[in-house]
Symmetry: C2
Subunit: 330 residues, 2 copies
């Protein structure tokens, strides 16, 4: 055996046709118990492993999902992992395609298309609704984490405004009224969170205390915002940041300014990233449930592929507040 065993090698060893071997290995009906046993044994002895490339080609179906991500984004990484396990359960294989310099979003998507993925899961893509629509004409497309208006693609995301509302409710429950918000910039996601803050404050009759401080979803932006807050004449008793990274920046600025969290000011982030869970950060934050989002996304694509759904769906998950040590009573 000078190379990897092929189907024909297994067949020859058992003395049956390649067709039988193929059927046995895929657990398809037909072969007798005896044949199954012998084939399985021979395959094991030879260490046979099917060639995915060939199987994919022969099957009309590819059973391949493509994931577009920015591998440097920790949340994407977590999603990629969850998508992998969800796809596995559904009998789909996954290929990852990441943005790199020299390989922008559309380049990365083309690679996925070249592998003839049947479905595409796009993590927070930048493409507009029109482009996405065009893509959706060719393959099943699920956009994850971002709202897409008026398009043929499926969308799975979590209700960002609700998450922020929960944060506010938690703080109000602890007696806070003077609650400031560290903004996340002009993205779709940041906008939804800002809106959630405004809504929740108004709902609680705290419209007069609405304070939005510029920020940008990075530690640095948070840090700047934190310094600003700490220097205020009448600082808030609580701060909600548009994401965890921003919150960590705020925290850093607070520590340097001698502001104690949560004794002086309570702090809440958003994402429940690994950062937030670190013992010395221990941040109250909002969890987006990556596993659930991944699972819904995979199911959505499988419905299109295997069950013939044609209408686009939008699945909006309810985020969940995770209370840790960065919040306390006034």
């Amino acid at each position: 055996m000078d190379h990897r065993p092929r189907l024909a090698d297994v067949a020859a060893r058992v003395g049956v046709s390649t067709a039988s071997v193929s059927l046995v290995l895929r657990d398809a009906p037909g072969p007798s118990a005896e044949t199954r046993r012998r084939v399985l044994q021979a395959a094991a002895e030879l260490g046979y492993r099917a060639d995915r490339t060939a199987s994919m080609l022969a099957r009309r179906r590819r059973h391949l999902l493509g994931v577009l991500l920015d591998v440097r984004n920790p949340f994407h990484a977590e999603m990629a992992e969850e998508i992998h396990v969800a796809a596995d359960e559904q009998g789909y294989e996954v290929v990852l395609s990441t943005l790199t310099r020299g390989r922008d979003e559309s380049g990365a998507i083309e690679t996925l298309l070249d592998f003839r993925c049947e479905g595409l899961l796009l993590l927070g893509p930048d493409a507009g609704a029109a482009e996405l629509g065009k893509l959706a004409a060719e393959v099943a497309v699920v956009v994850i984490g971002r709202r897409v208006t008026d398009s043929a693609v499926d969308v799975v995301r979590s209700a960002d405004n609700v998450g922020v509302s929960q944060a506010i409710e938690h703080l109000v429950g602890l007696g806070h009224r003077r609650i400031a918000f560290v903004d996340g910039g002009r993205g779709v996601i940041a906008t939804a969170r800002r809106r959630g803050y405004r809504e929740a404050m108004r709902r609680r009759g705290l419209a007069g205390f609405i304070t939005i401080i510029a920020g940008d979803h990075t530690e640095e932006g948070g840090s700047r915002a934190g310094r600003l807050v700490a220097a205020l004449d009448e600082p808030p008793t609580a701060v909600v940041a548009s994401n965890d990274r921003g919150a960590v920046g705020v925290l850093d600025a607070f520590i340097r300014a001698g502001v104690d969290v949560p004794e002086d000011i309570s702090l809440i982030g958003y994402d429940d990233s690994t950062l937030a869970r670190l013992a010395h950060i221990d941040l109250t934050t909002v969890n987006q449930d990556a596993a659930a989002q991944a699972s819904h996304a995979v199911h959505a694509v499988v419905q299109r592929l295997d069950e013939g759904r044609a209408q686009p769906v939008e699945i909006v998950l309810r985020p969940r507040l995770v209370v840790r040590g960065s919040t306390g009573p006034v």
Copy 2:
């Protein structure tokens, strides 16, 4: 056209054989300029894109590299990106396979094998030399970031001990003598860095000041170590951590303890991760040059595949100290 155009569609439209079209599209010698022009035009009109799956199968060569990584590890993420661009230059495609729960290292490697990758790039694998050797018998294997003794696989890594030495030299140059080391645990990498610390201190006649504080390459471990250091009767004037995450933990503990960096104590990390570059952390650290490692790894595998190299190589890169704001004179 009810489906993606195939080679035959292009051929039919131009009125030539599929063979000619294939040759033109791959820029192979043969077809005349005129044929080329017409084929290219037809392909463009139809929006033809080759099916990688079919090409790979038909070519005896797959031109596919598999990368094993833990997508949640930021350094791996960076490497994945760099490998992508390096592979692209060499005309190879890349598939990523990540560890997930329910999919351990060997499972992830098998997926790669199922795609019939010609070469495997393994980022800091746990497998032992024996297992790796067995793998290497089937495909070209490059282990990245870790030393592998006595095996047939290629290795690309950076000289961790040298990196730490550079850090020490920098500190000594600033007048420090009392330099402590926050350890990274019992991994191969951590061991090399610890050794580098010891060697460098001895070389500078500072053996008497060698102080190793337990840690584990996480923020929490660093934080614990930092508290310990801050509480010392006679604290060091500088601390070198086994990696950036540890250093960030140390920094956090220092800030809380009122220890100023770098006025009171200088601090150095290792990895030059994005963390280190953050304005409010601004950590002096050691850069491992992910791009260079990726490029060497890809070249190594290409040499085996395209140039028939059979002897294993070990490429050890020289890391580079990046001086930022966390270090200063005593």
